[in-house]
């Protein structure tokens, strides 16, 4: 009997050497004449343990990590093929507290299955949601998604069911399903991890959306910075066609759903839905005014459901276990779970899927273990480059769309970027303006010109040239950008800038000098 060994194929694991580890395991097994079966799984999302090698034993999967290629002979010597003890061992993977305490619904299979094995997917409850959906009318599917309380996971948190309902109700011979896989926010990778670690769940979710609203064509708009996800998605789509989960006759239902991946080209603004649609049409990614909403006039002028990767990937479990099951998780109007991403200067970075309501402090310290540098955490940016900087005094805020907004924050796509006390918040504010200037689509003046002015004003403010006047100018400029911009890039850039200024005014007063640790 050959032993099954798991070595992740996820981009993060690869960046930390998983490729060399996999090779070393195969070579060492050959040298010792042991039969093994190597599975390249997704990442479990505990990056301080990556590359995480798992061995399947009678008692369950046993974890070793972070493993380097040079550790492999020692692991064999220690009998790791039978789950033997070793300095890098962590016992049963499922018992690792970081994983055990999570509530993995959307990420239920990630790191567990072989991402490209349809058999594995089916054996782990895959495609049960679609099967249920095919027995329902479009309106009934829309109702189930509405009842689940699922809201858009791309950041704006608009109820998915209501969006689908609009598309369902809009008559048209051609409708589209578009997945926003542009994942432009710094500090986010949950979309990428799903696409690399469980691509079929996204395909299934989009197919259900197609059945719900009567759309026959889907596109995944993927950022070109994700070549690994691109390969995995294409392979998974081919397998889904092969097995009739996609194509002219989805699972013998007589209904068509086609799916194709399209690549972006390095423009942050193309994550905004109307810009994304322009880009899919082969144009410059300039914002279209809303209304009309994409739900009514979207891709090529047709009714279009556009949702984030995680939104679609959360639909299969809703259709499998039922709306009530999903809705039981969460608090207030934030139902279900969110895959939080702990990033930046954090000791145990990774993916933590939890029900809404967990506090920032629990995420940062109970899961994250504090900063990577060992210095005090001074600020965290939540919700991407357009999200506010949150000072330590507010770490007890619960992650709930409405509650977090009360402290001026934005849960967004669940990305959390940690900075220790060496951070210069004036530099971060300047960067926010600079980023806006670099990524502006150029359609409106407050964003295009305002952001460039913003950089100059912050430079003068920090240099101490008439600081009182400069601060007034900066606040005024932010006011204009907030209210005069066509989309959230110009409209929300003031959020990181003003939160930095309001919570960390001392950084804007003089060049910051930090004492050595």
């Amino acid at each position: 009997m050959s032993v099954r060994i798991y070595v992740p194929q996820d981009a993060i694991a690869l960046s930390l050497g998983a490729g060399a580890v996999a090779k070393a395991i195969v070579a060492e097994a050959e040298r010792r004449g042991v039969q093994i079966q190597l599975v390249r799984n997704g990442s479990r999302g505990v990056f301080s343990l990556e590359p995480l090698v798992e061995v399947e034993t009678a008692g369950g999967r046993v974890a070793y990590g972070p493993v380097k290629a040079r550790d492999i002979p020692g692991l064999f010597d220690a009998g790791f093929l039978d789950g033997g003890k070793h300095a890098l061992g962590h016992g049963l993977t499922a018992e690792i507290p970081y994983l055990k305490q999570q509530e993995r619904l959307t990420f239920a299979r990630v790191g567990i299955t072989d991402p490209l094995s349809l058999d594995d997917y089916l054996a782990h409850e895959g495609y049960r949601g679609l099967k249920n959906a095919l027995a329902l009318s479009g309106a009934e599917i829309v109702q189930a998604v509405t009842d689940s309380g699922l809201r858009g996971r791309g950041g704006a948190a608009f109820p998915a069911g209501i969006k689908w309902k609009t598309v369902h109700a809009t008559e048209s011979a051609q409708k589209y399903i578009v997945c926003n896989a542009d994942e432009g926010d710094s500090g986010t990778f949950s979309d990428r991890m799903i696409m690399e670690g469980d691509p079929f769940v996204l395909i299934e979710g989009m197919t259900i959306a197609g059945m719900a609203v009567g759309a026959t064509q889907g596109y995944i708009y993927l950022r070109c910075e994700y070549p690994h996800a691109h390969r995995t998605l294409n392979a998974a789509i081919a397998a889904a066609y092969e097995s009739k989960h996609l194509g002219a006759d989805v699972l013998g239902s007589g209904r068509r759903f086609d799916l194709e991946v399209r690549l972006g080209a390095g423009a942050y603004i193309c994550g905004e839905e109307t810009s994304l649609l322009e880009s899919l049409e082969g144009k410059r990614g300039q914002i279209r005014p809303k209304p009309p909403l994409p739900a009514i006039k979207g891709l090529f002028g047709q009714p279009t459901v556009i949702n984030n990767v995680i939104t679609f990937a959360s639909v299969p479990i809703v259709m499998d276990r039922g709306a009530a099951f999903y809705k039981e998780y969460g608090t207030g109007r934030s139902r279900g779970t969110l895959p939080f991403q702990l990033t930046g200067n954090i000791k145990h970075g990774g993916l933590v899927e939890k029900a809404f309501g967990i506090t920032l402090r629990e995420l940062l310290y109970d899961y994250g273990g504090g900063s990577y540098s060992g210095r005090p955490i001074r600020a965290v940016q939540v919700g991407g480059p357009l999200g506010a900087y949150i000072p330590a005094a507010q770490f007890d805020a619960p992650m709930d769309y409405e509650e977090f907004a009360k402290i001026g924050g934005m849960v967004g796509h669940g990305g959390i970027v940690v900075f220790d006390d060496t951070v210069d918040m004036a530099a971060q504010a300047r960067y926010a303006m600079e980023f806006c200037a670099t990524e502006s689509c150029g359609k409106c003046t407050p964003c295009r010109i305002g952001s460039t002015r913003g950089v100059e004003v912050i430079d003068r403010l920090v240099a101490g040239q008439q600081p009182v006047k400069q601060e007034a100018v900066l606040r005024d400029l932010c006011e204009t950008m907030t209210h005069g911009s066509l989309c959230a890039l110009g409209g929300l850039t003031p959020s990181p800038v003003l939160s930095a200024l309001n919570h960390f005014p001392e950084d804007f007063k003089r060049p910051r000098v930090v004492a050595a640790a």
């Binding site: 993060i12 710094s186 990778f189 049409e281 990614g285 970075g349 600079e434 200037a437 670099t438 295009r448």
Partner: protein, 171 residues
């Protein structure tokens, strides 16, 4: 026009030189393969850049006429997207992450080191033609930064020392 800030020199479009026959054949092959797609322009530009490493200005007229677009439209799209380039890159493209999560782990200092070590600014190609340096805003490796991608291969926890090791003796 995209906003201009100091660290981001805008790339002017170099003057169009006629396409060499081999290049022209490759561009045509891409067009023929992809022209039927709805919204074919981005896939075509990706195809051309995959095949040639860049989108030669001399290809604009050909792409425009084959896709029934104006030259201004094609040119406008190429210049809008950071990823498409109009000049031939070095042997390898090095994308260095500049975004917040990597900043929190020292990306700004690494950026200075990289530029100094390679002797180029962003969008520049090293004198020996080995590397073209490009800025990138997040590679989805934000818990293990600073990050960079070298010809599609992701590297995490990069510091000055490991960077020097990665690029070997380049200067």
């Amino acid at each position: 026009m995209k906003g201009q800030v100091q660290e981001q020199p805008l790339r002017p479009m170099p003057a169009a030189r006629p396409l060499a026959a081999a290049e022209r054949a490759k561009v045509l092959e891409v067009i023929v393969r992809l022209r039927a797609l709805p919204g074919a322009l981005l896939p075509v530009l990706h195809g051309v850049q995959d095949a040639l490493g860049y989108v030669p200005p001399g290809a604009v007229t050909l792409i425009a006429s084959e896709l029934n677009l104006t030259r201004a439209e094609v040119h406008g799209v190429i210049t809008f997207y950071h990823y498409f380039r109009s000049t031939k890159p070095g042997k390898q493209v090095l994308q260095l992450c500049r975004a917040e999560a990597c900043q929190s782990l020292g990306a700004t200092a690494l950026e200075a080191h990289v530029k100094q070590k390679l002797g180029v600014d962003f969008h520049g190609t090293t004198a020996d033609g080995r590397y073209t340096l490009e800025p990138v805003y997040c590679l989805g490796n934000c818990a293990c930064g600073p990050s960079l991608m070298l010809d599609g291969e992701l590297h995490g926890r990069v510091d000055a020392e490991s960077f020097d090791e990665l690029v070997g003796g380049a200067s």
